[in-house]
Amino acid sequence: MRVVVAEDSVLLREGVVRLLEERGFEVVGQAADADDLMRKVGAHKPDIAIVDIRMPPTNTDDGLRAALKIREEHPDTNVLVLSAYVEEAYALELVSDSAAGLGYLLKDRVADVDAFVDSVERVANGGSALDPEVVARLVGRRRQADPLENLTPREREVLELMAEGRSNAAIADALVVTERAVEKHVTSIFGKLDLSPAPEDHRRVLAVLTFLRS
């Protein structure tokens, strides 16, 4: 799997590159700013670009804007955005109308190597990976007449994992239940929230996010 890594901190960039190469990824390009990133993506057409939000030249949200541009101009390249902090606003902006091949994670997650590699693979294969903190904040937002209050605690857990972009099998693993049980929960959740069931994982993400942001 071919990867471009864009991160202005050399230390972190090399750490990520080493980690990915150890796990069998092929890092075809490294970039230290947004312009460089666009060039490398254009040249290498990687399966996935891993992008830090805050990068030169303006050191604000250059990485985010580059990520949106990649999704528009290079639909075959999936994007995983990393950030020192997560904002729901950014997540919703990134997802916009499709969560396919998209990830948005806190930089800290790199340290949990297995989970991180799992997320990279998921996104590289056209799936989604949303940081648990973003999801927790969206789910945890207090609403008046909150339909989420109708969910059982277990259903809430399933909803959060679903919003992160996990498949039923992964959810079953995480919660130590059978996949069959997860499917039942998912059906119940969609029923309670009045959502039409979606077959693919990344479509479920979009459906759940659309519901949560409203």
Partner: protein, 582 residues
């Protein structure tokens, strides 16, 4: 006013008729000695009280002094019937021959406001009225001929049974009571004089001296009477002299004050109308009003408070504090307040004239005072901003030191221990590394929160709306965003607005016990308007925490205003208006 004038004319006419009738009756009465003198006294004393009283009543309808003088006049007139021949009138005159003393004492104790302020005064006045009216009844019921200095007085129509022993005993009681009351009145007058302000003393002194002389003379008469010492009627006339002077002294002081003050207002106009403004406006006004205690307070519309000339805030005295307040307006706008002796309230025309003459000069002084107040405010706010900044740095230092730094130290320790254990006890090493990981995650989380508190990146990246939304979604209560700005504004404005929402939500969570909150951000007339409302217990004090105070300073530095409206039990609304050209 028309009604009052007609009523006063009627009273005056009744007075004239009474005087005329009494003059005729007294001239016809054979038993009266010195009848010419009595007729003259009737004109001077009764007439004096009546006409000066009517004049004062007309000039100051709200002040009871005029009314009391008119009452004194008629009480005097009724008593004068004791010098007339018809038996019925004569007997009534005898019964109430001392009645005039009661309204006279009432007048003295109520001078010059017309009000009795203390309980003692009210008791005294009531006692006097009782004693000088029905108090005399037992005597006229038991004495057939009232000794009256003259000869062959008319019959006493009230006589029931002649009983001179009872009359003597009762007379002693009556006279003793009279002396005690007169002494008490004199004492009250002295107390009142001592407590009076200097301008007040100038007004009351002549009247009080006349009053004190009357008290003294009446006491002497009563005591002589008690011990059956015969006394020449000249003494009685002597006692009446100071009493008769009262209306004329009062009239004199009225006229004199009017003339003096008319001159003073003219002088004031000349002083402040000149090209050079007076060095001290207060002194000029104090001279014109003849009130050295005068103070000025200038109105600051922006803060709706009064300040003194150096710009310090002043609270106006309440009426009970022995000071009175008169507002001065210039072209309809409140400019200043005169804080003066309540005595001056008796002369509203004077205050109005002085106020009108000085309004422009006061407006100029007001602007100066306003400027000084602003400078003082700025100085204070600047000092507070500095202190606020220092406090923030101290807080950051403490948070870093207590939080992330401690965690990193403990992490370093865990790593060292793990390093030492890695060969001999790999399980232990793994456990330690697990702990180190957790520690590290906590440290990162804390650093992230700290950075957000200093400056939320989403605010500079995406503007106020997403930043406020992030605040709302983090809040542990439902926060409805009612209105959004929908555009980017200069960063200082965004930052200030953001911290208003952040601080307000923090306070709501901490203190308000609210169930929900709403946030609205919008444009209003060249400003950004931020409003955060909750449905909690209210009663928030904007000066309590340093948070809101620091926020108010931050906003006033941008020329804006922060307002906290928090009625008890009715929720809290924090409103910030930050000027911002679109």
């Amino acid at each position: 006013m028309i009604g009052l004038r007609r009523a006063l004319w009627t009273i005056g006419a009744i007075g004239v008729l009474t005087l005329t009738a009494q003059t005729t009756l007294m001239a016809e009465a054979d038993f009266v000695k010195d009848e010419g003198l009595w007729i003259a006294l009737n004109f001077l004393i009764g007439g004096g009280f009546l006409y000066v009283g009517l004049f004062a009543w007309y000039r100051r309808p709200d002040n009871r002094v005029g009314t009391l003088m008119v009452i004194t006049a008629f009480a005097w007139f009724v008593g004068m019937f004791a010098n007339t021949e018809p038996a019925g009138l004569f007997s009534i005159g005898i019964l109430v021959s001392n009645l005039f003393v009661a309204p006279a004492i009432h007048l003295l104790l109520a001078f010059p406001s017309g009000q009795l302020y203390t309980r003692e005064d009210r008791i005294l006045v009531t006692l006097t009225y009782v004693l000088t009216s029905i108090g005399f009844l037992p005597i006229v019921l038991t004495v057939d001929t009232i000794p009256h200095g003259g000869f062959n007085p008319p019959d006493n129509v009230f006589l029931i049974e002649h009983n001179p022993d009872f009359a003597d005993t009762y007379g002693i009681f009556l006279n003793t009571a009279g002396v005690i009351i007169l002494g008490w009145v004199a004492y009250q007058l002295v107390v009142c004089w001592k407590e009076a302000s200097p301008p007040m003393r100038r007004v009351i002194t002549p009247v009080f001296i006349a009053g004190a002389l009357l008290m003294g003379a009446l006491s002497v008469l009563l005591i002589l009477d008690m011990f059956k010492v015969s006394h020449p009627s000249d003494l009685w006339y002597a006692a009446l002299v100071p009493f008769g002077l009262v209306p004329y002294l009062f009239l004199g002081s009225l006229v004199r004050a009017q003339m003096l003050r008319g001159g003073a207002v003219g002088e004031l106009v000349a002083t402040i109308g000149g090209t050079e403004p007076p060095d001290n406006l207060r002194d000029a006004l104090a001279r014109a009003l003849n009130d050295p205690s005068l103070e000025l307070a200038y109105w600051i519309p922006e803060t709706a408070t009064y300040v003194d000339e150096s710009g310090r805030q002043v609270d106006l005295p309440r009426p009970v504090e022995g000071r009175a307040v008169s507002e001065v307006r210039h072209e309809g706008r409140l400019v200043a307040a005169l804080i003066h002796d309540p005595l001056l309230l008796d002369e509203p025309e004077l205050i109005e004239a002085v106020g009108a003459a000085a309004a422009l000069a006061l407006e100029k002084e007001r602007l100066d005072a306003e400027l000084r107040a602003k400078v003082a405010q700025l100085r204070e706010s600047r000092a507070r901003m500095l202190a606020f900044g220092l406090n923030e740095r101290r807080r950051l230092e403490r948070d870093l030191h207590d939080g992330a730094q401690q965690r990193l130290v403990s992490l370093a320790l865990d790593l060292r221990l793990a390093q030492a254990a890695v060969r001999e006890d790999p399980d232990r090493a793994e456990e330690l590394l697990e702990g180190a990981n957790a520690e590290l995650a906590e440290a990162l989380e804390e650093l992230r929160e700290l950075a957000r508190g200093i400056h939320p990146a989403v605010l500079s990246d995406r503007g106020l709306d997403p930043a406020v939304e992030a605040l709302a979604s983090r809040a542990p209560l439902p926060v409805e965003i009612k209105a959004r700005l929908g555009e980017r504004v200069p960063e200082p404005v965004e930052l200030a607005a953001y911290f208003v929402v952040s601080e307000a939500l923090t306070n709501i969570v901490k203190y308000s016990q609210a169930k929900t909150a709403t946030v609205a951000v919008g444009r209003d007339n060249g400003s950004v308007l931020v409003e955060v409302t909750d449905d909690g217990i209210g009663g928030a004090d904007p000066n309590r925490g340093t948070g809101l105070r620091g926020l108010a300073d931050r906003i006033s530095a941008l020329g804006g205003r922060l307002q906290v409206d928090s009625p008890e039990g009715k929720g809290t609304t924090v409103t910030a208006r930050i000027p911002c050209e679109s």
